[in-house]
């Protein structure tokens, strides 16, 4: 965990309101794992926005360049998108616990909704590198204009299925529908599921996985003030009320085993 001011190498729109940003940080690049995240602050002179914003590490390029993939949803991401090559940003990372890798023989199923693709792409890359895993991936986006990273995933030899909510590309519907369909088939080998995306999607997937008794890891996105484990702001209800009642997403997560979360209240 370190704080570093880095210089932006690129920051380009690769889909509607969706940006890929890269910055040089050999130190962070050398220790980043899929599922971990960064807390980023763009403003230098201004106190508005006040807090850093959390972003998953999306990958590493040429050993020294770290990437994030993000979508404009508000003030912070909008300001981020206006930054140009050479501009400085401050980041803290790598934070949180990354994904637990599957055993080399396990069937691996990645399910990404929207920007959930950010950490899962990094995971796919890492898995392919480590063990040449066979990976099935379900991707969901609101509409075709927001679809990103499919070429890169195909280059990685990932078995890809796509949904869009409006049906403008791939199957029409939600990515969780794709998973339901898939799991309703007779499966020879139980998959390990890795999911990241909006909370309602994760809830559906996690509950399905628990019902089917499948190992499932979710990468949660909640509102974070510090990302450092000091404010206790990022609580999620723990499933097992005998132990502690809340997990800290920034410290105990953001990756959780599905059954450790109380999905009822999510």
């Amino acid at each position: 965990m370190l704080e570093e001011v880095v210089s932006i190498e690129f920051n380009r729109e690769i889909g509607k309101d969706t940006f890929l940003m890269g910055f040089r940080s050999p130190l962070l690049a050398s220790c980043a794992n899929p599922g971990q995240f960064l807390m980023i602050h763009s403003g230098r002179e201004t106190r508005d926005p006040l807090l850093r914003r959390p972003f998953s590490i999306h990958g590493i390029q040429d050993k020294n360049t770290l990437m994030i993939l993000y979508k404009i949803v508000g003030k912070g991401t909008s300001l981020l998108s206006a930054l140009k090559e050479g501009d400085a940003i401050s980041l803290i990372g790598p934070l949180g616990n990354g994904f637990t890798f599957p055993r080399p023989t396990e069937r691996t199923l990645l399910v990404a909704g929207g920007m959930g693709i950010a950490p899962l792409f990094f995971l796919a890359q890492a898995l392919k590198k480590a063990h040449k895993h066979e990976i099935t991936m379900f991707l969901g986006f609101p509409t075709s204009q927001e679809v990103v990273m499919t070429d890169q995933l195909k280059d990685l030899n990932v078995d890809l299925s796509l949904t869009t909510e409006d049906g403008s590309l791939g199957m029409k519907g939600l990515v969780s529908d794709l998973l339901d369909q898939h799991l309703s088939q007779e499966l020879t080998k139980k998959p390990v599921i890795y999911a990241c995306g909006p909370t309602p999607m994760l809830k559906k997937i996690a509950q399905k996985a628990i019902t089917c008794n499948l190992t499932c890891y979710v990468c949660l996105e909640v509102y974070m003030a510090c990302g450092l484990g000091i404010c206790q702001g990022c609580a999620v209800k723990a499933a097992n009320s005998k132990g502690k009642s809340y997990h800290s997403v920034c410290q105990d997560g953001p990756v959780f085993s599905a059954e450790t979360i109380d999905w009822e209240v999510m």
């Binding site: 106190r47 508005d48 926005p49 006040l50 807090l51 401050s90 509102y223 450092l228 809340y246 209240v265």
Partner: protein, 320 residues
């Protein structure tokens, strides 16, 4: 050439090496920010608010950002004073700066019990009484809005511990000086001003409050002018030292509080954004003193100049 200035100050019998203190609830139990710097460099550390028994905290979402501010309704999530003393304190041995326990009780009796528990713990240098938390049902702020109750809590804590007692006030009152006067009379050795301001925010897309608790406490730069005003008022009203806090982000902010008369300052929300803030403030104050040829930080404290009209004195910086 330049001799380093003496930054040490005395807060109600507790001498600290510099006036920069980590505020409760924004610094964990004391060692969480060690990856960024050695916490021993701080004047003191006030640990996360402790209650008699562990508290799980409020349901999420617990935080929301507002313009230049942070709303929180953590609800005093903590492991309880017993676990803190038994399990946490030993691992903080390597931190060479005073640790101050911030305590919160549901009843006056609980405050007294916790005070007693701290009395025999060497590592706890002082007690800060939190009678100002807006995020818990019973007690909390309620104790801090009435002078008599505030005095009763103070009295019980003072009687039950051997440590210097600091009372942390709420800003959510009509006249903070009456509360300050009451806790001074009840034996408080210092006063912290201020805890968070009551606030709320609504997500217009969902039409729901941004905090599950609906209301929360506002902190950060947004509250700085109000906190500064309250410190100014309390400094004028009491004899005991006042510790100023609320929105301090850099050494200039810290100077504002020192100039109105705060003996020391606390850094809260800024820790969440830039963990190194307290160190940057210590360095900034040191450089400022060197630049202005100030040998002792106490020369700045209370040196607000209010005579004369207008801003004609601008640029007239040196007089030490």
């Amino acid at each position: 050439m330049a001799v380093l200035p003496d930054l040490s100050v005395d807060i109600g019998g507790l001498r600290i090496k510099n006036p920069v203190i980590a505020a409760s609830g924004t610094f964990g139990y004391g060692d969480e920010l060690t990856p960024f710097y050695d916490p021993s460099l701080l004047g003191a550390i006030i640990v996360k608010g402790l209650s008699l028994r562990p508290m799980p905290g409020n349901p999420p979402p617990r935080t929301a950002e507002t313009p230049c501010g942070l709303l929180n309704a953590i609800g005093l999530a903590n492991i309880g004073i017993e676990a803190f003393i038994e399990e946490k304190l030993p691992s903080l041995a390597k931190i060479k700066t005073p640790l101050i326990a911030n305590i919160y009780g549901h009843t006056i009796r609980e405050y007294a019990q916790m005070a007693k528990r701290t009395a025999t713990v060497d590592r706890i240098a002082a007690v800060e009484i939190n009678i100002s938390c807006p995020n818990v049902e019973a007690g909390g702020m309620a104790f801090g809005t009435d002078p008599d109750t505030a005095a009763m809590v103070t009295d019980q804590v003072v009687k039950n511990t051997t440590k210097p007692v600091i009372v942390k006030l709420t800003p959510n009152v009509t006249d903070i000086t009456t509360i300050a006067g009451a806790v001074e009379s009840a034996g408080a050795q210092a006063i912290s001003v201020t805890n968070t301001f009551l606030g709320m925010a609504v997500d217009v897309a969902t039409r729901r409050p941004k905090l599950a608790n609906i209301i929360g406490g506002l902190s950060g730069p947004a509250i700085k002018p109000m906190a500064l005003y309250l410190v100014h008022k309390v400094v004028e009203a009491v004899q005991i030292p006042v510790i100023g806090l609320g929105g301090i982000m850099d050494y200039q902010d810290a100077l504002e509080f020192l100039l109105v008369g705060a003996r020391a300052i606390q850094v809260g929300t800024a820790n969440l954004i830039n963990p190194k803030t307290p160190i940057e403030i210590i360095n900034g104050l040191t450089d400022f003193c060197v630049r202005e040829e100030i040998g002792n930080i106490n020369q700045i404290i209370g040196d607000l100049r209010t005579k004369g009209e207008g801003h004609e004195k601008k640029g007239n910086r040196k007089d030490t």
